[in-house]
């Protein structure tokens, strides 16, 4: 896009502004780069910098750890199921709230955002007290219920933004041509909505995969990957293994995030031009 779209009212940024900006970007990214360096460190007793030597042996050690694999498996299962529930509920909510005006609409959209807007500790202790009151024992499902609840808003946000950009005349045309509601959903709405749902689902997955605060209240004795990580952070036992796991998590979460960004971005460009 040529810059002619916007008048060039802003002259060149001052060096101070540039320094502040790129300094801030460095502040955000140097720690992540450091994690990758540490995964290769040969030191296993402290966090000494610079690492005394570099090695790849810890990757093999980590791959052989059954506790790490068990935690990864549980986290993936929880995230997959929570995301599936969030996609269904988030899409339904977006469908109802995107265009129709009705009593309580604002309250419902606030309700959807609340689990993410309030500190996780509140959602966590609320679920914990509900389970305790109803005498529900901790299980895989108690984790999933919590995760699905705060993942809904992520899918909802993506779906509602897309739905508001889809022209209503498209749906009217489909109905006028004799398609019923389900056919219109399947052949007209879903193809338009698909990439937004995929993006929302990816972000929901990343959110659930990484969540620790609500999880500590709803997991009981179960160990998801973030809970495993917290235990290592508070009482480091196997520093090199933790370093390698951290790198795996970076790699695993970067993929869905970048994919989600790309999916929503191309969708926006498509309708804007």
């Amino acid at each position: 896009m040529p810059s002619s779209r916007r008048p060039r009212s802003a002259p060149g940024a001052s060096w101070l502004l540039k320094t502040a900006t790129w300094g801030g970007v460095l502040f955000l990214h140097v720690p992540l780069a450091l994690i990758i360096l540490y995964a290769f460190s040969s030191e296993d007793k402290s966090y000494v910098f610079p690492p005394p030597g570099l090695t790849t042996q810890w990757f093999a050690v980590t791959l052989g750890r059954t506790d790490v694999w068990a935690a990864v498996t549980l986290s993936v299962q929880v995230a997959a199921l929570s995301t599936a529930i969030a996609i269904v509920l988030g899409t339904l909510a977006a469908g109802a709230l995107a265009r129709w005006q009705f009593f309580g609409r604002e309250t419902i959209s606030l309700l959807l955002i609340l689990p993410l807007a309030l500190p996780g500790v509140i959602t966590g202790i609320a679920l914990r007290s509900a389970y305790h009151t109803l005498e529900i024992p901790f299980s895989f499902w108690t984790i999933v219920v919590g995760h699905a609840t705060f993942c809904v808003v992520v899918v909802y946000n993506n779906a509602v933004a897309r739905l508001r950009r889809i022209s209503p005349s498209l749906l009217e045309a489909s109905m006028d041509l004799g398609a019923n509601a389900f056919q219109t959903f399947r052949y007209v709405l879903l193809p338009q909505l698909g990439s937004a749902l995929l993006a929302g689902g990816l972000l929901a997955f990343a959110l659930s995969f990484d969540e620790v605060i609500v999880t500590t209240f709803t997991a009981g004795q179960q160990t998801t990957l973030p809970i495993w990580m917290v235990q290592e952070l508070i009482r480091p036992r196997q520093r090199p293994v933790t370093n390698v796991v951290a790198v795996f998590i970076i790699a695993l979460t970067f993929i869905p995030i970048v994919a989600a960004y790309w999916l929503t971005r191309s969708g926006e460009d498509g309708s804007a031009r």
Binding site: S9, F27, L97, I125, D176, G178, V230, Y261
Partner: protein, 315 residues
């Protein structure tokens, strides 16, 4: 529409056709059906849990058996106002406010540059650079700071290399913020909080500045305002909803977090830690429930203030 256009095969409507007709037969039936499952989920799971939280706050615990006594009492609320607990609440609020202030101070220039100076690929890259940390693993980023702030870690090493070790030692010997190393000091906790929530603050501010029409700035300049005046009188007020929106995130997230102060910091407690310990180690769920109402109230007040600044128009 005439029925003549309907093909012969559709004269006998299928089940889905009939359902479809039924759905459209009444106004409001379709949105009602759509909203029903999410509403049930949030009504039962979320609001139900919050109600049980509220109920638990009025219960108490039997000192001998440790069982929850389901009688209404206000003992927990009296206990909240004990000096120790009040101290925790005030310290957490003060930490949240200072983290929010620092996030705005660091985030505003980045947001401003992104919105008004960056173009094309540079802008997309900056956006990704801010968004990636926002979504990437909270624990991994926390772990990175454990590495950075450790006594033998990278920050110490860099400061030693440039001959500024005395500065670090001086800061760490300060009474309130200092500690044995950055990793075990309130200053360390503060730095990590700022780092964690910075992207949450940048993005709403950037969106708000982006929305300022260029004509407003031109008008300001044409009317003879110095760039600094334009900044103060036009840009900052118009960016205020974004600043308020971003600050909600940093404030609320700091107030409830209990992992960061547990990993980085000395043994001073914050609200989240008290809630977590009371329900876990101490086994006093009713008190944990009552204490978790403290951040709800504080955030309620903060949201009310932010709403007056127009934060919800910028979310």
């Amino acid at each position: 529409m005439s029925t003549a256009a309907v093909p012969a095969t559709r004269l006998a409507p299928s089940l889905s056709d009939r359902l479809s007709t039924l759905i459209f037969s009444r106004r409001g039936l379709l949105p009602g059906l759509l909203i029903l499952p999410p509403l049930l989920w949030f009504g039962i799971v979320y609001l139900g849990s919050l109600l049980s939280l509220l109920a638990n706050a009025f219960f108490s615990i039997d000192e001998f058996s440790g069982a929850v006594v389901r009688d209404i009492s206000f003992g927990n609320f009296v206990a909240i106002f004990s000096p120790t607990n009040l101290d925790v609440a005030l310290r957490s609020t003060a930490m949240s406010l200072s983290v929010t202030a620092a996030c705005i101070a660091i985030g505003f220039p980045i947001a401003y540059y992104m919105a008004r100076h960056a173009r094309g690929t540079g802008k997309a890259l900056l956006y990704v650079a801010v968004m990636l940390p926002l979504w990437s693993s909270y624990l991994v980023r926390l772990y990175a700071w454990k590495l950075l702030l450790a006594k033998e870690g990278a920050i110490s090493w860099v400061l030693q290399a440039v001959g500024l070790q005395w500065l670090l030692d001086g800061v760490l010997s300060l009474p309130v913020v200092g500690g044995s190393s950055l990793s075990f000091s309130p200053l360390g906790t503060f730095i990590v909080f700022v780092y964690m929530w910075l992207p949450f603050v940048i993005l709403p501010i950037q969106a708000a500045i982006e929305r300022i029409p260029a004509s407003c700035l031109e008008a300001s300049a044409d009317l003879g305002a110095h760039p600094a005046q334009t900044f103060r009188k036009v840009i900052v007020p118009l960016a205020m909803p974004g600043i308020a929106a971003g600050s909600i995130f940093s404030f609320s997230l700091t107030l409830g977090d209990y992992i960061i102060p547990q990993v980085i910091g000395n043994s001073t407690l914050y609200i989240g830690q008290v809630v977590y310990r009371q329900q876990g180690v101490a086994g006093n769920l009713p008190f944990a429930a009552a204490f978790s109402l403290v951040p709800i109230v504080v955030i309620g007040v903060y949201l009310w203030l932010a709403k007056r600044k127009g934060a919800f128009d910028a979310l």
